[in-house]
Structure formats: C-alpha cells, structure tokens
Point group: C2
Chain length 180, copies 2
C-alpha cells in the first residue's frame, strides 16, 4: 500500500486543503505528516522549519489567487457581466480558503503582506472594469474599493452561504456602481 514519494508540492497542496478545512492552526508538521501518512521526518527533509514552510504556503496561495485574477480579467466581456463575475465567482469555491487566509493574516505579518498584495491586484481589476464601463477615474477607485470590501465582508460573515444577495440585487448593484 505504499504510495509514490512525496514532493514539496504535495505538502503545499495538503497544506492548502487543511488551511481551507481547519484554518491556519492546522499548518503544523505533525498533523500534516499524519494526513499524508508519513512521519515528520519527511517534513523536515523537504522544509527547514515551520516558518519557512508557512512562507511557501502563503506564496503558493498567492500564485493560486493571481491565477484566478488573470482568468477573471480575461473574461472581460461586457463590464456589467465582468462585474458580476468579480463579485460572485471569485469567491465561489474558494470561500473557505479565502476566509482562512484572511483570518491567518490577522496574526502573521508575512501573511498580511501577501494578502495586501493580492487585494491591490484584485481591486485594480475591479477598477479597470469600472473605468471600461464609463465610470470616471476619480470615482472608480473608491467604488472598486467599496465593492471589494463588501465582497470580503460578506465572506467573513460567520455563515457566508446564508449571506447572499439575489442575482437581481447584484445586477442592481452593478448598475448602480457603473453609473457615471
């Protein structure tokens, strides 16, 4: 029943999974090793210590998130639709992960820095969509910020699944935000 040897990527993927399901408190060598059916020896073979491992985990998350941003930006159909996508789809399957990372960022400055970068990138995408939709540049930034904050705020509700706006409400909001 022995499985193929593990790579650092395997550890990072498991880390992301545990982060999503149990929060950053689960990012420890011993529990992760158990989840991968190996001992901590493997962990300390691939990584120097917990701190550097955490750094690689958050870097991995940044890449994942950046990938999502690129894809979202590429689907820039009509601005109204792009806005819907950005508001809704960005945090669809990634909600739990996003919540966990943001909670983590409140106690780890390195994570906070990474999250801040991703935030800037995402808000930039939203801003460009608004500008493409005819919103004056001066107003676009603060509106994009507002929208982004609302999206983050929603998923930081204790039960984000119960905190939803109807499609009609989202469309109404998008229309409001695209007003010149």
């Amino acid at each position: 029943m022995d499985s193929p040897p593990l790579t650092p990527a395997d550890w990072l993927n498991m880390a992301v999974k545990e982060l999503k399901e149990r929060g950053h408190g689960a990012l420890k060598a011993q529990p992760l090793a158990k989840a991968l059916n190996v001992t901590r020896g493997s962990f300390y073979h691939h990584f120097d210590n917990l701190e550097s491992f955490h750094a690689k985990v958050i870097a991995h998350w940044s890449e994942i998130s950046s990938g999502q941003i690129i894809r979202t930006a590429r689907e820039m159909a009509p601005p109204e639709q792009a806005l819907d996508d950005l508001l809704q789809k960005t945090f669809q399957s990634g909600e739990a992960l996003e919540r966990a990372v943001r909670a983590w960022s409140t106690v780890d400055p390195a994570v906070a820095a990474a999250v801040a970068k991703v935030d800037v990138a995402r808000i930039g995408v939203a801003e460009n969509i608004l500008i493409d939709g005819g919103v004056p540049q001066s107003a676009a930034k603060s509106r994009a910020q507002l929208m982004y904050w609302a999206a983050i705020g929603r998923l930081m509700m204790p039960f984000p699944a119960e905190n939803v706006l109807s499609q009609a409400e989202i469309t109404e909001l998008a229309r409001l935000m695209l007003r010149p």
Copy 2:
C-alpha cells in the same frame, strides 16, 4: 507590591485586551495568568476550564458590542449623520478587537454563533436608519447588508488604517445609499 484580589471580570477584561492585541491564540490560562501576575491556580479557581472561559469571553464581547449598538442607535440624529456614525465610528477604537473576534469565529462555532447575532443586530440598526431616511423597505435590507459587509470587509483588510475613504467619499456613499 501585592495588588487587590482579582475578580472574574478582571480576567475577562485582560482576555479582551490580549484578544485585541494578539488574537484568540493568546486566550490561554498560562499566558493570561502571567499577564495578571498570578499563577494558573487563580484561573482554575474562577473558571472550570478553557472552553467555558472562552464562552464567557465571547459573551462579554457580545455585551460590549451590544452596548455600542445601543449607543449608536440612540444618537440617531439625521439619518445621513447616523449613517456616517455607523459606518465610521462603530469600528474606531474597536477595529483590532473586531478583527480578532471575526478571525476567531472562523475556527470556533460558538464564537461564530455569537458574531452572527451581533451582525444581525447591527444590520438591523443600519436598516432602520435607511428606512427612517426614506428608503423603501424592500431595498433597505439589501443596502444595509451591503454597507455592513463593506465596513467589515474594510476592517478585515491587512492594514485597515491604510484603507480609508475620505469623509467626502463616505458622505457621497451615504447619500447614494439613502436614495429612494
């Protein structure tokens, strides 16, 4: 140099302080005892165990938050001003605490339940302000939700102090939200 004997309230106040400054990971008997210059014996004299202590901490936070809500609601001057207050003042000195509690809520269902209740109450206040300001009931709820999510989202940014809207922008937003 001996100080007066501690009460459970002293422990709860210290807990809130540590929660605010270091996050919920600091809510442990040993570190708190050290911060209060006593030993864990005192902790286990006043509380059964960590779990019940945590329950009292979050209950204490709920009362604090409810107090703020009452005060905010009582200052219901003109709706525009009340909205400013709700958006800005609620999380002024309490930003770090709010962040910590919300991060905590992502890993503790009991905390999540308490936070959810406070959220409902706060959104209710915002909704009433909007209704007082002439917004139709049907639209008031979703707009109040949006505003609340944005407020929460802002303070969950890694550096909330750098994520601010100018007073002009807030006023503009309040005006927008109060549109019938």
